[in-house]
């Protein structure tokens, strides 16, 4: 930077340069990420079409009497509210794919809750 540049010129030029460069780089990244998304979606679509067989012409609707699914097994001591929360979490994680919850039970803990909390605290993002 020239020693003769006054404060206002220096500040103005840096503000302009900084904002332009940061926005330019990030707009470019927006375009690249969008393009990448389109390309990978297109590839995934083509692969899905190759893998899926051509569906048969829709027949007359005849729903065979389906057997009633076995009731969900819930371990004793787990309240219905917790089961509802778990079901909502599974539905969100499965991203609308068909999912059936067969049972809800506590896993045998290999690590205590305090230990897990300690690990989480030590590895939380900075």
């Amino acid at each position: 930077m020239s020693a003769d540049m006054d404060i206002f010129t220096l500040a103005g030029s840096l503000i302009l340069t900084g904002c332009v460069v940061v926005f330019l780089v990030l707009f470019l990244l927006i375009f690249i990420v969008w393009l990448m998304g389109r390309i990978t979606a297109s590839i995934a679509e083509k692969q899905a079409k190759k893998a899926a067989p051509v569906p048969a012409a829709p027949a007359a609707v005849q729903q065979p009497a389906a057997a009633m699914p076995a009731p969900m097994q819930v371990e004793e001591g787990i309240p219905p509210e917790e089961v509802a929360v778990i079901a909502a979490a599974v539905a969100a994680a499965s991203q609308d794919a068909p999912v059936a919850i067969r049972s809800v039970a506590r896993t045998p803990g290999s690590r205590s809750a305090w230990g897990a909390a300690g690990i989480l605290r030590n590895t939380r993002p900075f």
């Binding site: 930077m1 500040a11 780089v25 990030l26 927006i30 690249i32 993002p125 900075f126």
Partner: protein
């Protein structure tokens, strides 16, 4: 023999810290105690603030030779080489990248705009610092506090104005801890309740291939445009690639845990040890607190007070511009984007995103903005690294 004993004791007393401590060192020791209390008692970013505060304490022990700039080359001055040569901050970024999920950003790349907007505060604060009499390099180091990114602030300051490292480190990490207090009033001031209550559409799923290509692409593109940002962005993306590739689990775990913890200790300790009375308070060993001139010097020539005020302004401006750009996106999208996620464009990951979530839930209890806010939050990390690269390229 008794005389020799007496002389020896006298000599030990003469060389003890009690007779050689300056008033400035006493003040710095007290400041280090306050910072330790804030870190341990109040939970202010303890992982960095405890080593920083303790480094400050060690550096101000009289005759101990534990300052980062000790002329005799003590332990901490050797550890400080990692800061001086810009090694520690990129290694911290390696760990951060290994812990970051860029999925929300990839799913909604428009979040990059909010990450960019939040960096405007850096450059405006640069102007303010120039007006207060700082040199351009010092002003650039102060402005980068607005990026709310500790490693980036330290990396930039080590290159541009290393004598301000102690003050800037304390300011940067203190404000990062105060995100939940500083941001909400600004967010509520700039938005209406209707805007804050906007529920955003669920993000699309992101494939593993995208998550693998993303860090490679970002590194190449950013480094070609701003080569001085390559160190920070490259290490951030290396850490992320270790995580997303799925074939480097051991390296990823090391980056997230052991490496991160080791570098954090060394970085915090050596940065804290730059905070001597001369650099932090602007007073020398010969200045006495019983003289009015010393107090005048502390308040007029002390850079730390100005840095703390400017740092707050930078942070507030970053939040404000992020929210304002969020409002622009709200209008352009006809009400589909919640402007609150704009405040997460400052790179205090993940606290700023949590603040967006909390303020959004106050307006609409059923609203979950966290994942939407993570996009701008991690975009801000990239944005602040690019901004740092620009400052280093122009002012370095």
């Amino acid at each position: 023999m008794f005389e020799v004993f007496t002389e020896t004791i006298q000599s030990l007393v003469q060389e003890s810290g009690f007779l050689n401590v300056s008033h400035g060192q006493v003040v710095m020791l007290l400041i280090s105690f306050v910072l330790l209390y804030l870190a341990i008692g109040k939970g202010f970013e303890p992982l960095l603030l405890v080593p920083i505060a303790f480094g400050m304490l060690l550096a101000n022990l009289p005759l101990a030779g534990l300052s980062a700039h000790d002329p005799n080359g003590g332990l901490i001055s050797m550890l400080y080489k990692g800061v001086e040569y810009g090694i520690y901050p990129p290694l911290i970024f390696l760990g951060i990248g290994a812990m970051t999920d860029f999925g929300p950003l990839i799913a909604n790349p428009k979040s990059f705009i909010l990450g960019a907007a939040a960096q405007i505060g850096i450059f405006i604060t640069f102007f303010g610092a120039l007006l207060l009499g700082f040199t351009p390099q010092e002003a650039g180091s102060i402005g980068i506090i607005g990026g709310a990114d500790g490693p980036t602030a330290l990396y930039t300051t080590a290159i541009l104005a290393s004598h301000l490292l102690g003050s800037i480190a304390v300011a940067a990490y203190s404000y990062m801890a105060l995100v939940p207090i500083i941001q909400p009033p600004i967010m509520k001031l700039l938005t209406t309740k209707k805007e804050r209550a906007v529920v955003m559409e669920q993000l699309r799923p992101v494939s593993k291939l995208e998550k693998i290509i993303f860090p490679i692409g970002v590194t190449v593109i950013v480094s070609f445009i701003v080569p001085s940002a390559a160190s920070l962005v490259g290490m951030l993306m290396l850490g992320n690639l270790l995580k997303e590739s799925g074939v480097c689990e051991r390296l990823c775990k090391t980056a997230q845990n052991e490496l991160m913890n080791i570098v954090t200790i060394l970085l915090g300790l050596s940065v804290g040890a730059t905070a001597t009375a001369e650099s932090f308070l602007g007073i020398g060993a010969e200045d006495s607190l019983f003289q009015a001139s010393t107090w005048v010097k502390m308040f007029t020539e002390n850079p730390t007070l100005k840095i703390i005020i400017l740092g707050l302004i930078a942070f507030a401006l970053g939040t404000a511009f992020g929210v304002l750009f969020g409002k622009i996106m709200y209008w352009l999208s006809k009400g589909k984007v919640n402007p609150l996620i704009g405040s997460a464009g400052v790179s205090a990951v993940p606290m700023a995103a949590r603040v967006s979530q909390r303020v959004g839930q106050e307006a609409n209890p059923g609203n979950f903005l966290l994942m939407h806010a993570m996009g701008p939050n991690v975009a801000g990390v990239i944005g602040s690294a690019v901004a740092a690269g620009v400052l280093i390229a122009v002012l370095g």
